[in-house]
């Protein structure tokens, strides 16, 4: 259907990974440099359809940047990203918006529209893109709010919600149009154990009942381990490990040992890169 899929320049790469036919998101040769810092260096990644894939890694390794590449908010310097068979870099604004209508995105800080009530926030994507009778909008919105347990809070304003509630409302808003791909950016940050469990359960339930593909960016391995089907670990611009969370938890490489064991020093150094310590303090041979 899409002529780009049959592009001969791509076909040999497709041949390289024949198993990628079932991938919802396919990334090839991604290279990104932001403010002189290399974020990604020739990265390949496939995200399986219908599964929960968690992307983990130390802070500042470009996990959110990867999500912004996938959704076309930020163009990569080099490489190709394909979402559901469409090359993100080649889309114009209208096509990009068409693509985004099928993606649900949960922001780290919920990003509810402060002017609108909870109900109107969830109804927003419907009102913007579909001409539906008020009755149907009401039913859809209340169903979604029910599924996150906040039907009773429909009339509240975002400023009246706790962090966990706001995130659940944002989740209801993200799923209101039945997306094919759900993206969660740090969904567990700043939640108390109860709210964390609620969000975890919701993500798992959504994936099982709606059959969506989920991409999850998080730090909390203990939480991720309970729901993810696949974990990818990024560090230093590369994917250093990937596999089922239980396999990674055994810590077979230095990276996984440090990250999942939570060790302070290791491949990810404790010290920010600096001059030689002794030299900086004036004890080195050259300074004497």
């Amino acid at each position: 259907m899409n002529p780009r899929v049959n592009d001969p320049t791509r076909s040999n790469q497709d041949a390289r990974t024949p198993a990628a036919g079932n991938a919802c998101v396919r990334i090839r040769g991604l290279r990104t440099v932001l403010n002189g810092k290399t974020i990604f260096d020739d990265v390949d990644l496939d995200i399986a359809r219908g599964k929960i894939t968690a992307i983990m890694g130390p802070s500042g390794t470009g996990k959110t940047t990867l999500l912004r590449h996938i959704t076309g908010q930020l163009a990569a310097d080099c490489g190709d990203i394909e979402v559901d068979g469409r090359h993100v870099a080649g889309l114009n604004r209208t096509q990009l918006f068409d693509l985004r209508e099928r993606i649900g995105y949960l922001f780290q800080n919920s990003a509810l529209l402060t002017d609108f009530s909870v109900f109107e926030n969830v109804a927003f994507p419907l009102r913007q893109h579909l001409r539906l009778p008020e009755e149907i909008i009401r039913n859809i919105v209340l169903t979604r709010l029910q599924s996150v347990g906040l039907r009773g809070a429909a009339h509240l304003m975002p400023s009246e919600l706790s962090g966990g509630m706001a995130r659940r409302v944002a989740l209801a808003r993200a799923i209101v149009r039945d997306p094919d791909l759900m993206i969660y950016d740090e969904p567990f940050v700043g939640l108390d154990p109860i709210a964390l469990n609620q969000i975890l359960t919701l993500i798992r339930t959504l994936n099982d009942t709606l059959g969506v593909t989920s991409i999850l960016v998080a730090h909390e391995f203990s939480a991720v381990r309970r729901i993810a089907d696949h974990v990818v670990l990024i560090a230093g611009g590369k994917f250093v490990a990937s596999g089922h969370p239980d396999v990674l938890a055994r810590g077979e490489s230095e990276w996984t040992r440090q990250f999942f064991g939570g060790e302070a020093d290791g491949p990810v150094p404790f010290q920010y890169p600096a001059r030689d310590y002794a030299a900086e303090l004036g004890f080195a041979a050259g300074a004497r």
Binding site: S117, F119, E120, A123, E134, R138, A154, H155
Partner: protein, 166 residues
């Protein structure tokens, strides 16, 4: 849930209405448009030897009350005097036909207007009549000149001279 949306729209509507009401008020009450809305009027003609700074649409007053406005100002090529056409509101139809017209200045620096001094004739002005008795604009320069020459009685007499008595 749709209630807040509606109240915004009603409030905005009221605001826009208020704005246009203010515009209409300013346009019709404070500008020259106010002078057009005099309804039916009848025309009178008056000749002056000098109209000073009198302008079209300047007010016409009787006893200080505005009764009409200047419609047009032209020059009579024969007598070389100014012909001023005056529109008077139909409501003020009872003006004796021997009334006099004079050009006055409101204040020392104010605008000039045509003042009507009522006469005593039993007949009233009709549409198209000419005001026979007219008094020209009082020129500040003339006035000062007369003061310098002296003769306060001469000043009075000269000022009261009538023009266009033919």
């Amino acid at each position: 849930m749709t209630q807040p949306r509606r109240s915004f729209q009603v409030g905005t509507g009221l605001f826009i209405l208020l704005g246009f009401a203010a515009l209409t008020y300013l346009a019709t009450q404070t500008t020259s448009i106010a002078n057009y809305q005099q309804g039916d009027s009848y025309a009178l003609k008056a000749k002056f030897s000098n109209i000073g700074q009198l302008k079209v649409r300047a007010p016409v007053k009787l006893a200080g009350v505005r009764i009409g406005s200047v419609q047009s100002i032209t020059l009579d090529p024969q007598t070389l005097s100014a012909i001023v056409m005056i529109g008077i509101d139909k409501r003020f139809a009872e003006i004796p036909d021997d009334s006099a017209a004079a050009i006055f200045t409101s204040g020392l620096l104010g605008d000039q207007y045509v003042g009507i001094q009522p006469g005593g004739s039993p007949d009233m002005f009709k549409d198209g009549d000419e005001v026979i008795l007219t008094q020209s604009s009082m020129q500040l320069e003339d006035l000062i000149g007369k003061f310098l020459v002296g003769g306060d009685t001469a000043k009075q007499g000269d000022q009261a001279k009538t023009d266009g008595s033919e």
